[in-house]
Symmetry: C2
Subunit: 545 residues, 2 copies
C-alpha cells in the first residue's frame, strides 16, 4: 500500500508562485486580514512556501468522521527566524494559526485545524538534527525530524543509541512527544524524555527553557528543570508557544534484545494478565509497556475482513474462537520486549515465566545476542522481530485501515484506565456490548504501564459510507460516554471532540481549564497560536466552544 | 545531639492568644495593612495559630551566613479552607506571604523569607495522609507530612511500599519534591514522582491538576498529564500557588536489598569512577543515584575536626592520606544500593564487579534477603545499613555541623555538572584550590545520575565567628563564580543568592525569567505569594532584585 495515496501528503501540493487563492471566510467572526497575511508571508518565506487551498485540498483529516475542515491556507517556515516572523505577522494581521510538526495525527483529525479561518503552520521543512550525544544519550532536533530520520541518522553514523518509536514512523519525534504520544520501548513515555525546549512565544520572541536558558552551558539538554517554576510542560498539547527545537533523551543501545509473547487462552483471564504485567512493570522486570491485543486486532494486523468473515454486524464469538485457533494465538496476546545485559535478561525471563505459569497462559520468547561479544545489531534480528519494540520505525499499521474497504479510515478511542485487572475486564465487557450493538468488530490494544493502561480501541470504517459512518459516530459517542461515566478520559483528543473532553475536567467549575485559559490570555492576548487546541480557547474565540 | 537545640523549631514558639506584636516595618515600601491582616487571621485560625516575632525569634535561618532575616509574623492554617481564607485576606490587605511546608531548607536559608515584611505561612499542621494505595503504589499527602510520618504510617500498616527519603527525614515529602529536592532511592528524583496536585491559587481559589480535575476519577494520582497544557511543574520552586495536597508515587517494596561500596584508591581515578557509574545508571544496572564522597566527607560523617586534625587552614594532603588509611577507605568512596529480585540483583552485582575490576578499585556489598521466602524486612537489615538508601529517614547528618565548633552551621553549594568524568575532575581541582586558598576543609558528595551529577560541597562554619564567616562568604562566591563560568548552576538556591542565580539564565535578555514573571503577574497581580522565590518577583516588588 502506498501511504501517499492514503494520506494526502501536503508536501506534494505546493503553491506555484502566483498570488494565493483566498479561502472561504466566516461571517460570524471579524475577518482577519488574510490577504495581507498571505502576501507578506510570501515575501518572508518565498511564494513556494505559502499554500492556499479550497475545500478538500491538502491539510485535512484523511479519515473524516464528520465533514472535512480545511484550513484557510498554509505556510511552511524553514527556520526559527521565519517562524518568529510569521508569528509576528499573524499578530499584526490578526490571523489565527494552527501549528503542526508533520501533521499526521492519524485517527485524531490529521492536520485539520479547529476553525476554517486558521492558517496551518507546517514545520516539516525544519528537519535538522542539531546534535546527537552518544555518551550522555540525547539528541537535539527540530520539529520536522521524523522517527525515520532520527533512526536513519543514528544507523548511518553507527551511534550506540536506540530510538523509541510509536506505531507509525512518519510522525515527528518532537510533535509526538509534545502531544503526549508514546512509543513501545523503555523510553516510550516520550513526553518524559523532553529536556530543554526552544520556543517561539505568541509574541514572536524566542525563549529557551530549563538549563538551556544559561548561555553556553553543557547542561542544556541533560537536566530537567532550570531555576524557579518549570515551564516546559506548558508547551505540551498546547497553543502557548511553537517549539522549534528540543532535547530528547535516548536509550543507550542494548547488548541483547528479546521479543516475547504471552498468550492467554480464556477471555476471563484478562484480570490476571493485566495485574501481573502491571506488577512486573512497577518492579521494573518488564522494561517497556506491554501491548495486549485481542483476536480481532490480530486479524486486522494480518489481512482484510473478508479473509476472516463475510457476515454483517460484529464477528460472532464462535467465529472469533475459530479465528483464534486458525491463527494459533490466545484470546489475549501480550507482546513485550527486553533490553540489555544477557544475564539480567535471563533473570527477567525467569521471573516472567514464573509469574505466568498459570493454566491457559503461555510465554514464548526469542533472544537476540550479538556475535563475538559485540552487542546485538539489526543484522542479528530477523524481519519478524524488527518491530517498533525493537526501535524500528514502520508504516505497516497503515494497512489496517483497509479492514472493511479499500478506501478506509479509522478513529481512535483511547481512554486511560487504572492498571487494575478487574476494572479493565469490566470496562472491556461494556465496550464489547457497544461494538456489538452498533455492528462493528472490536479492536483492542492495551498499552500497559505501571499504574495505568491506554485502552486503545479503534473504529474502522469505509470513507464516504454514510450508513456506516453514522453508526461509527454513535458508537464513538457511546464508548466515550461509558468511559467518562467511570472517570476514564482520553490522553489526547480528536479535534472534533476536544471541547467535549476538556469539559470533563470539571472540578470546581472547570478550574483547570479556566487556569489554562488565563495563561492563554496572558501569553497570547491576540489569540494567535492554535486557538481551541485541547479545548483551550483565547478570549477572542471563546464563544466557539 | 538534640536537633531541636540546633534548629529553632517554630512549633515550640507559638502565640499566647494575646494581640500579636507588630513586626518592624520598612519605610521604602507602602506598608501593607499588617495589623488588620493579623487580627483577622486570628479570627480565622484562632489566635494560637498566629505568631508574631521580633528580630531573632523563630522562623529564621538557623545557619545565617549573612544577617538573619525574620519574617513579619507567621500563620499556621490547618486546612485547605483556612489556606484559602488566608490567601484571600492577604489579597485584601496587601500582605506578602512566604509559604513553606516544614521550613527546614537547611543550608539554603531555612524558613527565612526573602523580605522582612513577608508573613510566613507554615503548613506543618496540615499533616494528613489521605490515601496510600499499596497496589498501584502511591500516596496522597498534605504538605505537613514528613518523611518520618510517611515511613511510620507505612511501617505501622505493614504496607509493601518503600519511601524514598533525602538526607534528613524531618522535611516535608511534598515540600522536598516541590523544591526539586532528591532522595537516595530509585524514586529519588522526587519531583518526577508527583502526580496530581491540589493547589490554592493566588486569588484563593482551588484547582486540581491533571486527571484530578475530573470529578471522582480513579485516574487522579496515577497518570501524569490531564488534557491540554500540563501545569503541574509550574508549582515547583514556585510562588504561583500553594500546593495543599498531592499524589506521590512510591516504589513497591523490594524482595531483596543490597548495600554496596566502591572504593577508589587514587584521586586521579575519579573520571573512570564517574564515567562507569553514569554508564551503568543509564543502562539501569545501578538503580539509584550513587553517592561519591571524599575522605574529608567520611571524616565529617564520623566525628569532629579536632579528632582528625588540629591545625589551621585546610587539612593538608599528607594528613588526608593518613586519614584515608586510618579509616580504611578510598580517596573516593561510592555508596550504592540495589533493590528487587535476588536473581536480578546477583546479575547486577556481577556487572558492577566486572565494570570496576580495575587497579585500585574495590567493590564490596552486603546482600539482605528475607527469611523463609518472604521479602526482606527492616528486621533483616542491621543498623549500619538502615540508611537513607534503604529508605530509612534519619537526622544523623545534622551532627556534621559540629565539624568546626559546637555551635556550627553550613551552607551548601550544589551546582549541576554533566556526568562526564574528565569534566568532573577538572572542576574538582579548581574547587579544591579555592577551599585551600580560603582555609576550609573540602567536603565533596557527588550524587551521580544518568546524565548529570549534583556536585554537593558544603562549607561548615562556627555560628558568629565573623572572621571565619567572612572567609566562608568569599569562598562561597568564588565557587559559585567558578561553576557559573563553566555553565554549571545550582539546582536550588539559598535565599540570599536567588536573584544572582536567576540572573545566570540570561538567554535572549533573560527571556525565561521574564516569562516566569509574566506568569506571576497574570496569576498573582497583587504579588501575594512568596514574592522573590527563586528570583521571580511580581511587579509590585520587582525593584527588590
Amino acid at each position: 500500500m502506498d501511504p501517499v495515496r492514503v494520506i494526502a501528503d501536503p508536501r506534494i501540493v505546493i503553491g506555484d508562485g502566483t498570488a494565493p487563492r483566498l479561502p472561504r471566510t466566516r461571517s460570524d467572526h471579524p475577518m482577519s486580514d488574510l490577504e495581507t497575511f498571505l502576501s507578506r508571508a510570501a515575501e518572508i518565506l518565498g511564494a513556494e512556501h505559502v499554500i492556499a487551498y479550497g475545500d478538500g485540498d491538502g491539510y485535512v483529516d484523511p479519515y473524516p468522521l464528520h465533514t472535512g475542515r480545511p484550513p484557510a491556507a498554509g505556510v511552511r517556515p524553514g527556520s526559527v527566524e521565519e517562524v518568529q516572523a510569521i508569528v509576528r505577522l499573524a499578530n499584526e494581521t490578526g490571523t489565527p494559526l494552527w501549528t503542526f510538526s508533520r501533521g499526521k495525527n492519524l485517527g485524531y483529525g490529521g492536520s485539520s485545524p479547529r476553525l476554517p479561518e486558521q492558517v496551518v503552520v507546517d514545520l516539516s521543512r525544519m528537519n535538522r538534527i542539531h546534535e546527537v550525544d552518544p555518551e550522555l544519550a540525547y539528541a537535539v532536533v527540530e520539529p520536522g525530524v521524523t522517527f525515520f530520520n532520527l533512526f536513519d541518522h543514528i544507523q548511518e553514523n553507527g551511534l550506540p543509541l536506540f530510538v523509541s518509536v510509536p506505531a507509525l514512523g512518519w510522525g515527528s519525534v518532537l510533535g509526538n512527544a509534545l502531544d503526549r504520544g508514546y512509543g513501545m520501548s523503555p523510553y516510550g513515555d516520550h513526553v518524559q524524555q523532553l529536556c530543554g525546549l526552544e520556543v517561539v512565544l505568541p509574541d514572536g520572541s524566542l525563549m529557551r527553557t530549563g538549563m538551556w536558558a544559561l548561555e553556553d552551558s553543557p547542561l542544556s539538554n541533560i537536566f530537567k528543570g532550570g531555576f524557579g517554576p518549570n515551564v516546559d510542560q506548558l508547551f505540551t498539547q498546547s497553543g502557548l508557544g511553537i517549539v522549534v527545537r528540543a532535547g530528547i533523551w535516548l536509550m543507550p543501545w542494548p547488548e541483547t534484545f528479546v521479543s516475547g509473547d504471552i498468550t492467554v487462552d480464556r477471555v476471563e483471564d484478562l484480570p490476571e494478565l493485566i495485574d501481573r504485567i502491571a506488577d512486573l512493570r512497577r518492579r521494573e522486570v518488564f522494561q517497556n509497556n506491554c501491548l495486549v491485543g485481542n483476536v480481532v486486532r490480530a486479524a486486522i494486523m494480518r489481512g482484510r475482513r473478508k479473509d476472516f468473515y463475510e457476515g454483517e454486524g460484529t464477528i460472532p464469538d464462535e467465529r472469533v474462537e475459530e479465528m483464534k485457533e486458525e491463527m494459533g494465538i490466545g484470546h489475549w496476546n501480550a507482546r513485550f520486549a527486553l533490553y540489555g545485559d544477557a544475564g539480567m535478561i535471563r533473570e527477567r525471563l525467569r521471573i516472567i515465566e514464573e509469574a505466568f505459569d498459570l493454566p491457559g497462559f503461555t510465554v514464548k520468547s526469542r533472544v537476540y545476542e550479538g556475535r563475538d561479544g559485540a552487542p546485538v545489531s539489526y543484522d542479528d534480528i530477523p524481519e519478524i522481530d524488527k518491530t517498533t519494540m525493537a526501535g524500528v520505525p514502520t508504516l505497516k499499521p497503515l494497512e489496517t485501515i483497509g479492514w472493511y474497504a479499500e478506501d478506509g479510515g479509522h478513529i481512535d478511542i483511547a481512554p486511560l484506565v487504572p492498571a487494575r485487572g478487574a476494572e479493565v475486564l469490566d470496562f472491556y465487557s461494556e465496550v464489547k456490548e457497544l461494538y456489538t450493538k452498533h455492528g462493528f468488530d472490536l479492536y483492542i490494544g492495551y498499552h500497559v504501564y505501571a499504574r495505568h493502561l491506554v485502552h486503545v480501541t479503534m473504529i474502522f470504517f469505509e470513507n464516504g459510507n454514510e450508513e456506516q459512518l453514522a453508526r461509527a459516530r454513535a458508537l464513538y459517542s457511546e464508548v466515550r460516554e461509558a468511559a467518562a461515566r467511570r472517570g476514564y478520559t482520553p490522553y489526547r483528543g480528536h479535534i472534533d471532540n476536544m471541547d467535549e473532553i476538556a469539559a470533563e475536567f470539571s472540578f470546581n467549575d472547570h478550574a483547570a481549564l479556566r487556569f489554562q485559559e488565563r495563561l492563554k490570555d496572558a501569553l497570547d492576548p491576540n489569540g494567535i497560536l492554535s486557538p481551541g487546541k485541547q479545548g483551550v480557547w483565547p478570549a477572542r474565540f471563546r464563544d466557539e466552544r
